[in-house]
């Protein structure tokens, strides 16, 4: 069933391609996080137009498949390489989901602490930066970690625009060897190691927070 010789030969190639997978997931998460913060703030802001645009963005992005969004962005012929287009598309998609997580994180911060800061005359910007966001970020860190893990898996969609990531490499191997089972077992193991490894790292990082405020 499994060709172990092919399996061993495939590993270095898949390992090299998994670097692109991690790059896509990492930078998409960053875009998703910053975009998510901006959308969450707009949704909770005073501007009606800002709230409308943010809500429309979230509805459109969450209501359409990611593969369509990647293809749409790619079809715009932006002056970027396919991997950058994939990062932007996946990041923008993630921002719509992350914004809702951040919104719930912001709402979880004790209102009393915010009132105490307002009463002291601390500016809204400083309250957001030093009180609300740090606490919200801590509350939603497990969800953000899950989002990163999800994006590792979602990055496989970048193969559709020719990005040389883990799934694309596996497709290339299949086309050359015609051994679908062996290559799929190898690529499945790679995704598992990546997602499980990242989950463990994130859990350790979360534990280190227990020693701080």
């Amino acid at each position: 069933m499994i060709d172990f010789a092919l399996f061993n030969n495939a590993l270095p190639l898949l390992a090299k391609a998994s670097i692109n997978t991690l790059i896509i997931a990492f930078f998409s998460t960053l875009i998703g996080l910053w975009g998510g913060i901006c959308i969450a703030l707009a949704q909770q802001g005073d501007s009606v137009i800002g709230r409308f645009i943010a809500q429309a963005y979230v509805s459109i992005v969450r209501g359409t498949p990611m593969i369509v969004q990647i293809m749409f962005l790619y079809s715009l012929n932006l002056p970027f390489s396919p991997i950058v287009v994939a990062i932007i598309a996946i990041g923008l998609n993630s921002s719509a989901y992350v914004s809702q997580t951040i919104k719930s994180g912001i709402n979880s911060v004790a209102k009393g602490e915010i009132e105490a800061a307002i009463m002291m005359g601390i500016r809204r910007r400083d309250i957001m930066r030093y009180i609300i966001l740090p606490q919200a970020f801590r509350a939603i860190f497990p969800s953000l970690g899950n989002e990163f893990v999800t994006l590792i898996k979602d990055s496989s969609l970048a193969y559709i625009i020719g990005v040389h990531e883990l799934f694309k490499e596996s497709r290339n191997l299949m086309n050359v060897t015609y051994d679908v089972i062996t290559v799929y077992v190898a690529v499945t193991l790679f995704y598992l190691v990546l997602t499980y490894g990242v989950t463990l790292l994130l859990q350790e990082y979360e534990k280190s927070w227990e020693r701080t405020c």
Binding site: A110, E113, E115, A116, A117, M120, R123, I131, C213
Partner: protein
Amino acid sequence: MLKLENLTKKFHEKNVLDGVNLEIKKGEIALLLGSSGVGKSTLLRVLCGLETVDRGTITLDAIPLSRKTHSIGMVFQHLNLFSNMNVITNITFALEKALGYSPKTAQLLALEFLHKYDLADKANLCVNKLSGGQKQRLALIRTLALQPDVICFDEPTSALDPVLTMQVANTIAQLAQDGYTVIVTTHDMSLVEKLPCTIHLMDKGAILQSAQSHQYWENQEQFPHITRFIKGYEREI
């Protein structure tokens, strides 16, 4: 002198404050008594700028309160310490961001207060590692550090044992001696007994009756509303 004139506030067609008139002298302790929902906490929130009034004026030494920043401090019922900061940062953060102090000056001032209130050895602890009494002192320090003229306490002893209640009463009395104007809302009758204060009984958003505490204890019949409230409260307990 802190002067509240005809403060009125409606909320959902209900008068939460219905023409509150109150004068509190510098160095005086004003104790606001009353059942839940009579407007005590709303009155404090108005003083602190967390709520607005529909009508009425508040002046401090004849100057509208809106023109005097940081003149009112508040120790909240649930203390509302910044839970993502350690003890000293809870104090320095406000000093730096609200008063514009340099980090070094803020640090020195915070340490001075922490020494005075016996919390210096806890300076770098997270606030959730403090006991109830220590948190209470930290909340007071954070308020005092901003150098207010008036300090409000919202139910300061609601979660404290008798020993800590006594400490809080002593602290409040000391603050008044130091020249602060102190306003306290409470359900705790032991505070009424311990503090030399002016008692103001609130009902339906207004001050129903006022009395100097020593006058009240000398002649309770003269203040029937306050007596009825205190006796009724003691019976319930």
